[in-house]
Amino acid sequence: MSDILLEEKPESEQVQAPEYELAGAEGAAEEATAPAEPLDPNALLEVRHLKKYFPAKKNFFGKPLSFVKAVDDVSFKIAKGTTLGIVGESGCGKTTLGRTILRLQSATGGEIYFDGKDINKLKTAEMNALRPQMQIIFQDPYSSLSPRMPVGEIIGEAVAQHKLVPKAELKEYVLEVMKSCGLPYHYYERYPHEFSGGQRQRICIATALALKPRFVVCDEPVSALDVSIQAQIINLLKDMQEKMGLTYIFISHDLSVVEHISNYVGVMYLGSMVEYASTEDIFDKPMHPYTEALFSAVPIPDPDRHSQRIILSGDIPSPINAPSGCKFHTRCNHCMDICKEVAPKFKDYGNGHMVACHLYPQD
């Protein structure tokens, strides 16, 4: 696992981003060591106003002129042992959000409280000590395993790195983890190319869970798999959650999978979260027009149920010059004048159902 983590890091723009952006904000944050609002004691993870900008265009001296606002002011919290599903179209910042939360990319602004600590302010050594508790399962099981390492070594590497078990017991421990993830023990010395997609995804899951994490980001873990294999992996993820009391962020564009696995769902559009609610609430009565359109677009495997489909016109706009006001107004069927000018507030409309839309009272 640690080799995966290290691979992700040294992309120059990721490291650069925070230096020029919001330098003042960082200074302000240092003064106020305690969070402005008290943290929810039940929440394992709380994200406040998280921002991640990538420089899109630079001038001659390398100073960025414009930014891709991949994650723009996103706030939410996750209680222990629950799953938050993040849905949205491609390019809406789902993956960036997941990686920024784990500090695989440093955030441009905002706070991420994991277990009461703002991980954006941790020093590298402190962060490394925290890493085993926060893990990620990547989308593509074909490219996230080192082809030169046998399975046992892949799973055991991070365990050895973090010295979770004594050296002598390492192999035994790895075999135990493999067994719990449905991998027979004679796979220990095989190489990743010998496995199919489903088996590889099991290896990825074993790699992440070997560190006994408390929090796992699942970044589209089943998108690359066949339907019958998808069900196996989803069941495995659910079993492990029960067994280990894990907290998941489940990123996917497949709404039916998200509905199945999540307790809460957040809908993202162009880097912002437009709706956040419990799974039942959001599927029963989606409030934001985008959520409505997104849900109605899902094909239902029942020939008699032709749902009233809301077809969104056009494509998702470029995140470099995101539309003013409400970012969705260019494709919205209920667009009003105010939508083009003022960005709506992300507000709670009862029962923890948060929406950012002018259709609902703003005060």
Partner: protein
């Protein structure tokens, strides 16, 4: 290629499988040097033979003219066999596929990756990767209106006249199937110029009209764009425009929406449905998404490991699925607003297409397996005039009437 990869991964059968004797000896797909030499030799012989047949210059039209079984069908696949001669042995990618596509209907072909859906459609276009891939048996009857041709026997020159004009294909990846170094306009015109023999100006006018038809807002601008300037949804629209530009009688849509987002997918599916009405053609829709099938198709063909295991109308397949694989496939996919605690999962994996045993291929993964399943591959049982299933569970009920294979 695909099958070679599968071969290597084959040996791990399922979770908790019993331990193999040792890493290599227990692996039934381990080949000795002698064995692989023999395979290579026999492959070369077989491939040479098939290629020789294809190279014959002047083929009389009577050789590939045939008669449709039912004049209302546009295509009839009859016991089609397409094999790939790989280094690990002969992979029977399509092994006795029989189904037909009626005129003006949408037929959905579902199955997991590697089950032969794409190879079936490529066989219909004669685009199977040669010389490794060869149509070794069976026939594909294509209705040309006044006559019918057997595509499996057609020479390449004749096939070129049909490909694109009569049968058009929309490929899965709009990102890779457009040529990045040519403008959209050129790629659209190419097709029209080749098949209709009109002038360049006419071709351009036609292309722009096609772009308008598929719902592109600024067709003149897109006409002079390069593919990289367009988004995924736009590219897929261009692909559809290219496919439609010669008024084909049959459109093969090979996973047209897999690479797209749900909202864009909804747009494209709507477009396909609309266009089918307009041109009054048939669509062969290949996908692994049961939701897409339920919305689009009139008939469904379920494939597994190179064979058709169940066919029927969409209502029959979705309301009364019979084959355990079809049932499992439907149960393993979560559905919005249909809450289940735990998803059903089909244990194990798709079998290796090399050296298939002569019993039901689904036997090892089936939870309704009966003694009879150890016998040879089950025949088709006709459950209703349109519904066929190949499973021993239904053998008694359906009588002997429908044994098509």
């Amino acid at each position: 290629m695909l099958f070679k990869k599968q071969d290597k991964t084959q040996s791990e059968s399922s979770e908790g499988a019993e331990v193999k004797k040792s890493a290599h000896k227990g692996n039934s797909h381990y080949l000795s040097a002698k064995e692989s030499r023999e395979i290579a030799k026999s492959n070369a012989r077989a491939m040479r033979e098939y290629e020789k047949k294809k190279r014959v210059k002047h083929v009389d039209e009577s050789v590939y003219t045939c008669k449709m079984q039912d004049e209302n069908n546009i295509v009839e696949f009859d016991d089609l066999h397409t094999y790939f001669f790989t280094d690990a042995g002969v992979a029977k990618a399509v092994d006795g596929v029989t189904f037909s596509i009626p005129k003006g209907a949408t037929v959905g072909v579902v199955g997991e990756s590697g089950c032969g859906k794409s190879v079936t459609s490529l066989s219909l276009m004669q685009l199977v990767q040669a010389p490794q891939g060869q149509i070794v048996g069976g026939s594909i009857r294509f209705n040309m209106g006044d006559k019918a041709y057997d595509i499996a026997k057609m020479p390449i020159n004749e096939m070129r006249k049909i490909r694109g004009k009569q049968i058009a294909m929309i490929f899965q990846e709009p990102m890779t199937s457009l040529n990045p170094v040519f403008r959209i306009g050129y790629q659209l015109d190419e097709m029209v110029l080749l098949h209709t023999g009109c002038t360049k100006e006419e071709a351009k006018a036609h292309s722009i009209e096609m772009l308008k038809l598929v719902g592109i807002a600024a067709p003149e601008r897109v006409y002079s764009c390069y593919p990289h300037e367009l988004s995924g949804g736009m590219r897929q629209r261009v692909m559809i425009a290219i496919a439609l530009s010669c008024d084909p009688r049959l459109i093969i849509a090979d996973e047209p929406t897999t690479a797209l987002d749900v909202t864009i997918q909804a747009q494209i599916l709507d477009l396909l449905r609309e266009i089918k009405q307009k041109i009054d053609g048939s669509i062969m829709l290949i996908t692994h998404d049961l939701g897409v099938i339920a919305e689009m198709a009139d008939y469904v063909v379920v494939m597994y490991a190179g064979r058709v295991i169940e066919t029927g109308t969409t209502e029959e397949i979705f309301h009364n699925p019979l084959h355990p694989y079809t049932i499992g496939l439907q149960k393993s996919k979560p559905v919005v607003k249909r809450k289940v605690d735990r998803l059903y999962n089909i244990p194990g994996q798709v079998p290796n297409p090399i050296d298939m045993p002569n019993f039901c291929y689904f036997k090892d993964r089936c939870d309704k397996c009966i003694d009879k399943c150890n016998g040879e591959y089950p025949h088709f049982v006709q459950v209703s005039p349109t519904h066929r299933v190949s499973c021993y569970l239904y053998e008694e009920k359906g009588a002997e009437g429908g044994s098509n294979e």
